[in-house]
């Protein structure tokens, strides 16, 4: 772990503006509110709960935070049916069996049963899953992605860990974090989170960025895209986003993909033909594609 990693993340930045500037250096262009909330999260040791439309940079913030703090990022992707063994720890059974066989072969019958058992539940047979890793290796940035996909039970379990920063392994004892990890939870709101979990967290809704900020994001994330192209693509996406009745308005991630796709084709400016050909980078539904193609003709043709 690096030197910067050894210090408490709470003291890493003197003010929200510092953090915002450092995040911008890593290529994450956010607004003041987001920087302030993130800084407060560091200061108060509170998890950040980020909600927003898909593709607005919720996950990217965690990655940028890890880079800005120079800490490793531990990621826990949630899914339906995830349970504590996938989040905390598990024992490596096949290796334990092998070890057992080895002990039998070498020591014979004379060995003490207690010692053998102790050696079986040794740290080296422990498979650390993300949450335990975050607790053991703190300070780290722990990203709990798409928490809304997990079940209520898992949320309750997470709440317990988030409030105590302790994990108890019956065979080994209790592991607690010296400095609480920086935690970022993201949610797409497919399921309403429990209020107890929300109370623990600092809440922030990430919206689609405005024109200037989105251009800055494209410029910083995809430097290969020219200024003129970036401005045009972002302008286009912003107008498409305002189009009524889209099933899935394109997010920032889609803007980036589209700009990169156009740059890949060697475009310096957006023309109707290339825009229509690369539309699949930004629009993922057939109904939307039909609508947007009409709009493109209106915007670019007119």
């Amino acid at each position: 772990m690096s030197d910067a990693g050894a210090m408490d993340p709470a003291d890493a930045f003197a003010s929200a503006a510092d953090l915002g500037a450092r995040l911008a250096e890593t290529g994450y262009v956010g607004d003041d509110a987001l920087a302030t909330v993130a800084w407060l999260g560091l200061r108060l040791h509170r998890p950040l709960l980020l909600e927003g439309e898909p593709g607005t940079g919720k996950t990217a913030l965690a990655e940028a935070l890890a880079e800005a703090l120079d800490l490793p990022l531990v990621r826990l992707q949630c899914y339906e049916g995830i349970d504590a063994t996938q989040a905390l720890y598990d024992w490596d059974f096949p290796r334990q069996i092998l070890h057992l066989r080895a002990v039998e072969a070498t020591a014979g019958a004379g060995s003490d049963l207690g010692d053998v058992e102790d050696s079986l539940f040794d740290e080296r047979f422990l498979l650390s899953r993300p949450v335990l890793r975050a607790v053991r290796e703190a300070p780290v940035v722990l990203l709990v992605d798409e928490i809304d996909r997990a079940d209520d039970e898992f949320e309750a379990f997470l709440l317990e860990v988030l409030s105590t920063w302790q994990v108890t392994i019956p065979e080994l004892g209790t592991v607690s974090a010296t400095t609480p990890p920086v935690v970022v939870l993201t949610s797409n709101r497919t399921r309403e989170l429990h209020d107890a979990l929300k109370r623990r967290c600092l809440y922030h809704w990430i919206d689609h960025p405005g024109l200037a900020r989105e251009i800055a994001i494209v410029r910083s994330r995809a430097p290969e895209v020219g200024v003129a192209l970036a401005q045009q693509v972002v302008g286009l996406v912003q107008r498409v986003r305002a189009e009524p009745g889209l099933l899935k308005p394109p997010g920032v991630a889609e803007t980036l993909d589209w700009a990169r796709a156009l740059a890949e084709l060697g475009a310096r400016e957006v023309d109707l033909e290339r825009a229509a050909a690369t539309l699949g980078a930004a629009i993922k539904y057939r109904e939307d594609a039909l609508r947007v193609r009409e709009a493109l003709e209106r915007i670019l043709g007119g």
């Binding site: 909330v37 049916g81 069996i97 057992l100 039998e104 709101r189 497919t190 929300k198 922030h204 960025p209």
Partner: protein, 372 residues
């Protein structure tokens, strides 16, 4: 900040947090404390920082943000400092003052004289098959009691996990684990199969004017689902979409119905099925609620707007859901043809088209849903 100098900063901030609570934000004592700590961290002189600190600590849904900003403007004077762009518009769920939910005509006491106990098997049997729209108030009350016997079973889906079984693939992990317990001594071969989980059921109940004779019975049916096992969500459709699962989630059916009635603002109004479905899909369905679920639509298919929107939304619904069941109370009547434009537009996207005008047909509906 325009607070009078006689109050300390903490007092002003705490008062603001209380005002937020009074405005309906979920502010609890621990949130207040976090808010004060956060304000101290950004410094109370930093008005924009204090504003953001409050947003992060006192709010927990996008809808809270609007309300928070309004209280902020009222408390500290002047408009709230602008933060990025305006949050999302509020979802179409609103609490409205109580409209009369009692459509079961539990009306005048003078009707009680007909309420002789005729609980013979044959009378109940007749009641089960009669059209609910034509029942007398006394019969409706007896019918309400019959709902208690309805035990809807959730459909199941395969889960990711495995459970122990006498057949199926060999469970290597379990064998090793048991072997470990016996210090490496080999033991019997264990098997496992994929476990099953209850599948989500989503009920969309049309409560418009044309459905009003059935609305009470349908909500009673929905209540049986909600109090049963397995994940269930209930919405009412009328001129707008209302989420009533929470209101129905109490054991007593009559109370649940009153609570649902208090939640639904558009009882016996017009129908905008297409718009209601679109709101459901945008707000809930596509984000996961309808995905892989069994969706049951209780409606007669009367659509005030054109049928195009309804057809399109039904197509989206069918693409998301595991099975779409349409229950139409008129289906069971002699000479019924699904010729209403709305019904005709929706039918190609339905997996099942069932009758729903009597207790017996409701039982059939629960059987179809359980099998789905």
């Amino acid at each position: 900040m325009t607070a009078p100098t006689t109050h300390s900063a903490d007092e002003v901030l705490l008062g603001f947090a209380r005002a937020c609570r009074a405005a309906g934000l979920p502010v609890t004592a621990d949130r207040e404390r976090t808010y004060l700590t956060a304000c101290a961290a950004v410094g109370v002189a930093d008005a924009a920082g204090v504003h953001i600190a409050g947003r992060a600590t006192l709010c927990s849904t996008p809808q809270d943000l609007d309300r928070y900003d309004a209280v902020y403007a009222a408390w500290f004077g002047g408009p709230a400092p602008s933060v990025s762009r305006a949050p999302r518009p509020a979802p179409p769920v609103t609490a409205a003052p109580l409209t009369d939910p009692d459509h079961d005509g539990r009306g005048g006491p003078d009707e009680d004289d007909s309420d002789i106990v005729r609980a013979t098997a044959s009378a109940t049997e007749v009641l089960r098959h009669r059209d609910i729209a034509e029942l007398s108030a006394a019969d409706k009350r007896r019918l309400a009691a019959l709902f208690g016997a309805l035990k809807p079973v959730s459909p199941t889906r395969r889960s990711l996990r495995h459970t122990g079984s006498n057949h199926g693939p060999v469970d290597g992990r379990r064998i090793l684990r048991e072997q470990l317990r016996r210090m490496g001594e080999p033991g019997p071969i264990r098997h496992h199969t994929q476990a099953s989980k209850p599948r989500r059921v989503v009920l969309l109940v049309d409560v418009s004017g044309s459905m009003s004779p059935y609305a009470d019975a349908l909500l009673r049916l929905a209540h049986r689902y909600v109090v049963g096992r397995g994940p269930v969500e209930v919405f009412t459709l009328g001129t707008r979409l209302t989420h009533v699962t929470r209101a129905l989630r109490q054991p007593d059916p009559d109370r649940a119905l009153v609570a649902a009635g208090a939640t639904v603002p558009d009882w016996s109004g017009g129908t905008r099925l297409g718009e209601g479905l679109a709101a459901f899909l945008d707000r809930w369905g596509r984000r996961g609620m309808a995905r892989g679920a069994v969706v049951v639509v209780f409606s007669d298919g009367w659509e005030r707007e054109g049928p195009d929107l309804l057809g399109e939304q039904m197509r989206r619904l069918a693409a998301l859901a595991h099975r779409v069941v349409w229950v139409n109370p008129h289906r069971g009547k002699d000479g019924y043809e699904p010729v209403q434009q709305g019904m005709a537009a929706a039918l190609p996207h339905c997996d099942d088209f069932l009758a729903g005008h009597s207790m017996a047909t409701f039982e059939a509906v629960t059987r179809v849903v359980a099998r789905a």
